[in-house]
Amino acid sequence: MTPNNAIEIRGVSKFYGYGEHRVAAVSGANLAIRQNEFFTLLGPSGCGKTTLLRLIAGFEFPQEGELLLYGENIAAMPPYRRPVNTVFQSYALFPHMTVADNIGFGLKMLGKPAAEVDARVAEMLKLVRMEQYAKRQTSQLSGGQQQRVALARALAPAPKVLLLDEPLSALDYKLRKEMQIELKRLQTETGITFVFVTHDQEEALTMSDRIAVMSSGNILQVGGPRDIYDTPANRFVADFIGETNFLKGRITAIENGTASLELPAGTKLSAPSPESAKSGDEITVMVRPEHARLTSAARGEEPILSGSLANITYLGTDTYFNIKLADGEAFTIRQQNRPGEQDTHNVGDTIGITFPPSAIRVLRA
């Protein structure tokens, strides 16, 4: 055990159902969440991220494995003894209490004296900028305000770890953006370890120090936002985080860790080889849409791939070009729009695609 880990999950499994209907919501998860880290569990719905969070909170108990909070195994500890607090997706504010009573609830249950509770509630209201709402009923608040109260309530007892279960999913786009910044600020100001669950990859990338990508109960990759985006561990992670073009290919040779690749159309590329790959392996080549570009004849560029333009989507900041390659596969290019530049391409045109060698990632098929 390293002392700077807030949470350590060792071989934790959680199953639902019995016998042949038994399904693993989380299977054999291993994870270390560092102290004072903004850690995100990211994955599609049903991937087990919420179950993992509920296991940490104590609403569910694992059938296998150990759950360490600052080195102490809490796997069988009831939720009301765990020094962790949760911000629920539905906020779960107590409808029969005022804003102040909601925020003070945890401290009261811990048996803190009234004066201390009041002081802490005032401090929390200030932290989430809701001072003037202390005496309001929770039903009189907007979604964003309820969100802030839920945050203040969970932060008030100064938990060792704060768990957030998709807290921003019910907010509209603008408010969500604001709250993302707000959450990041609260995390920095309080210095509490945040474990954040989301299915929104953009949210995960913008806020997290580190991300764990999950799928069907397994943790596929843990790393910083850049690592996960630039060097995804496998096809699922590459596909789930951002947009990606996948091209089928084969390794023809490996030399000094660099693989020579051949695509079905005959195109030859070279890129860093994945571990334990060998010559003759079928692989997948990944290129992010924003890393590729349409070739311009004026600059005398040789296309790496070519195809016919199937669709052009103007997005304001960028333009998407959907291209049908010669072998029938689809390829997308995302190109930034610059002032004074007029796009001269038309649907149906035959066009060339190019990308720098550094844009290529080789994934095991």
Binding site: A57, G58, F59, P78, P79, Y80, R81, V84, N85, T86, F88, S90, A92, L93, F94, P95, H96, M97, T98, D101, F105, G106, M109, L110, Q137, R153, A154, P157
Partner: protein
């Protein structure tokens, strides 16, 4: 007033008249069926008792005086009617106890049902309503069969060697209480379940998350939120308990009377209709006062919670 306004005004008047006309049948039924008999009872309570029952149309307050006082047959002095008072007190005590017991038993039952999966919940509610399919009298006699000296409980206890001779359970207040709790329990469970079903169990999780022990979650979160169901259930159990007739007369054996039996007695063997009417109205007043008190207290509790 412009002609246009006149038209609108006429239209509104006709609309109001039509509403009254359309609701007239319902209003007549409500007036005749609900208020009518009550008025008859009220009038009878101020008349003189006839020698063979019925009433003589001569004003008298004897009925009301006899509710709590009795006239000595020899010297015409008034003294306190201990018998009536003890029946009033027994009725109140047994009704309050019935309500409390039904709440204590009904609360976990309703909570159990509300926390089952959707499909099983319907089955449990269905099972709760099964006693309603059988006549009250038959259910009460079944209770008698269980409680009597040679009944189920005593036989079992004797065979097990716990006791050597049967315990007298029948014809006691305890028997009446057991019978009333049994009969009125579904009336407590159903409204409680209705409000527990609406309870957001994520609030319970939030309570646990914020260091509340299971008991504190029950006291600070579940009870305040299902209070409307608790009030509704208590009212539904308390009112019929106070006026219960069949259960005390079968299980109390006519000795341990409750208000319902006292009223029946005045209209039957007692041949004192004005007194019966006066007791009926007194019973109604007790119920109203108790309800006002209860609802106000429970309601203010709700407000102070926020």
């Amino acid at each position: 007033m412009t002609p246009q306004q006149q038209i609108i005004d006429d239209e509104a008047k006709r609309d109001i008249r039509n509403r009254w006309l359309l609701s007239a049948p319902a209003l007549v039924i409500v007036l005749l069926a609900a208020t009518g008999p009550l008025l008859v009872v009220l009038v009878y309570s101020f008349l003189t008792a006839g020698p063979y029952g019925d009433v003589i149309w001569k004003g008298s307050t004897d009925g009301w005086v006899s509710v709590l006082l009795q006239r000595d047959i020899f010297d015409d002095t008034l003294s306190f009617a201990d018998a009536h008072l003890s029946i009033f007190l027994r009725s109140l005590r047994l009704s309050v106890l019935t309500t409390i017991l039904a709440l204590v038993l009904g609360f976990p039952t309703a909570y159990f049902i509300a926390t089952r999966p959707q499909r099983t919940r319907e089955l449990w509610v269905f099972l709760i309503t099964i006693p309603f399919w059988t006549n009250l009298l038959i259910r009460t006699f079944a209770m008698l069969e269980i409680l009597r000296n040679q009944g189920l409980v005593n036989t079992l206890l004797i065979q097990l060697g716990v006791i050597s001779s049967p315990i007298q359970m029948l014809f006691t207040d305890g028997a009446i209480l057991a019978g009333m709790v049994y009969v009125y329990l579904p009336l407590m469970v159903l409204p409680l379940y209705a409000s527990m079903e609406k309870l957001d169990f994520r609030l319970v999780e939030a309570g646990y998350d914020l260091y509340a022990t299971p008991f504190q979650v029950l006291r600070k979160i579940i009870i305040p939120l299902v209070k409307p169901g608790m009030i509704a259930g208590s009212i539904l159990v308390f009112i019929p308990s106070l006026g219960a007739y069949v259960t005390p007369s079968v299980l109390g054996g006519g000795k341990n009377m409750m208000l319902g039996n006292l009223i029946e007695l005045q209209f039957g063997q007692g041949r004192n209709w004005p007194l019966g009417s006066a007791i009926s109205i007194t019973l109604m007043l007790i119920v109203m006062v108790a309800l006002l008190f209860y609802v106000r207290n429970a309601g203010s509790g709700e407000r102070s919670h926020g």
